[in-house]
Symmetry: C2
Subunit: 303 residues, 2 copies
């Protein structure tokens, strides 16, 4: 089951009591990080998320509050003797930003591959990503090119030992079969994974949208998400006009999108530094979308 | 009197309980910052140091733990509507590093002037710096070009109201005279500042040295410092060999330098992340240099 940890919940600048918005998702021992602002590596340590497990970093966009922590994180990965390559994904036209930031990361002991994603809705091709992870992206409406992401984590079918035993499959073949590969037994018989596992299980969907005006396409993109993480810069309706100008949304907008998307749960994030106590809106927001959480740093769940 | 705040005391990477080494010095309403690693802007806020007052940033060198927080700090200065230019000083050949890091700082409402300092001992010329602040620099011995800094804060002579009264100088001229300018009174007499102030006062000297092997020249450079801030990566003598290789020093080395320099006080900083409790060495270190402080984040004094 994917473990999700919302490392930080702030927008614009890191505060002494609120880290910048970033999300760590670990599944089957591998992790995805979405955005990495100043201090994200400290917050990852604080919430016991293992940077050694991060295989992919997805950047929504290249504003400083979403990317300024990258060089520090890469160096800390290097200090942990990482040798596995790291893949970074970001909106088209911005690949030079991480390259420039990496001017203070000489001699990393691992490769960093930077992939620019096109400015249209799309799906990551399997050669770039783990086959059990399906990632789609959606252009958002912000002051710079910005992407929302949807992660679908495939779940292996349950292994059924009683079936394996009935077929006389020795225990040492079980792991390989459960990983999805056929095996040939010592007696010459070929056994397929489907013979020893249960039915296919529904994948788990997490959608991550921040730094955008609200629009219908987000609801379709987030449809049936098990968890929808969405920005809500302010909880006060009086901020609507200024949010429109800046390419952001209110907590209320996010609730309406979650409802239209038929999401199971909504976590709000990316609060303005001027929102000192975002939690005060939670009761009101529940009238718009009952399963909303005004998240705090370190908000944590298994999906 | 200059107020000094050691914002952080860590080296290599920021920890959840230790910010990266950086120092804020405020004098006459203007401030100097030395180094700015990831999280320094958060620590500045935590210790109530005002980023709006920072006029100069001095970088010892361009390793990430000393400079990665620059873009975030600049953006936060911009968010506070700063319009005054900011001057950045760093070792020769490294001016492109802040320029590259600033790729995520578009539209700053103020000018950033980057000055490279030569690789020999020197003194900042008065056209680049406040005349009441005398800054000298010393090449250190690290894996990359690195500078130590010595700041001498000039102190205005005490204003003597009884002398001003005896000379019949109206109160509205006192401030100008104390600022060091001559005035012409309504009756045509010219009065010079020296006629209404006490004797010249000794300036206050703070020396800041980090990321270097220990060597004699540091003691001469730090001579008679009121406060000597110096790295001490480890307190254990068993780390001497590895520190030699990496271009760092032990807490003991710093104490010996402070003694040779005849410094009034020594603050240690830039501890290795592996030094979990640097304070444990304080008693032993006092036998080498009695006025040593194994500093903690936010160590604070007036000089």
């Amino acid at each position: 089951m994917p473990r999700v940890c919302l490392i930080g919940t702030g927008g614009m600048l890191p505060l002494k009591n609120r880290w910048l918005t970033s999300c760590y998702i670990e599944h089957n021992g591998k992790a995805v990080l979405v955005d990495c602002g100043e201090g994200t590596q400290i917050a990852l340590a604080q919430f016991e998320c293992r940077i050694s497990r991060i295989e992919y970093i997805f950047f929504t966009h290249c504003h400083a509050d979403h990317i300024s922590g990258l060089p520090g994180l890469l160096l800390s990965m290097g200090n942990c003797s990482r040798t596995e390559p790291l893949d970074i994904f970001l909106p088209q036209g911005f690949g030079d930003i991480p390259r420039k930031l990496m001017c203070i990361c000489d001699k990393l002991p691992f490769e960093v591959n930077i992939h620019e994603l096109p400015s249209r809705q799309g799906l990551l091709t399997a050669d770039k990503i783990d086959p059990l992870l399906r990632v789609s992206f959606l252009p958002l409406r912000h002051s710079v090119r910005c992407l929302g992401y949807s992660f679908e984590f495939g779940r292996k079918p349950v292994f059924l030992p009683e079936k394996a035993k009935a077929l006389g499959v020795p225990v040492e073949y079980w792991k390989v079969l459960h990983s999805g590969e056929n095996v040939t037994l010592p007696d010459g018989r070929e056994v397929a994974p489907a013979e020893v596992t249960g039915a296919a299980r529904k994948s788990v969907k997490l959608t991550y949208v921040t730094d955008t005006l609200p629009f219908e396409g987000i609801a379709r993109f987030a449809e049936n998400s098990d968890l929808f993480i969405c920005e809500g810069m302010y909880g006060g309706e009086d901020k609507k006009e200024s949010m429109d100008k800046k390419g952001h949304m209110l907590m209320q907008d996010a609730c309406l999108l979650a409802q239209k998307a038929n999401a199971k749960r909504l976590w709000l994030t990316h609060y303005s530094p001027a929102e000192k106590n975002p939690l005060e809106y939670e009761c009101t927001l529940k009238t718009l979308f009952p399963n909303v959480t005004v998240s705090s740093d370190g908000e944590n769940t298994e999906l």
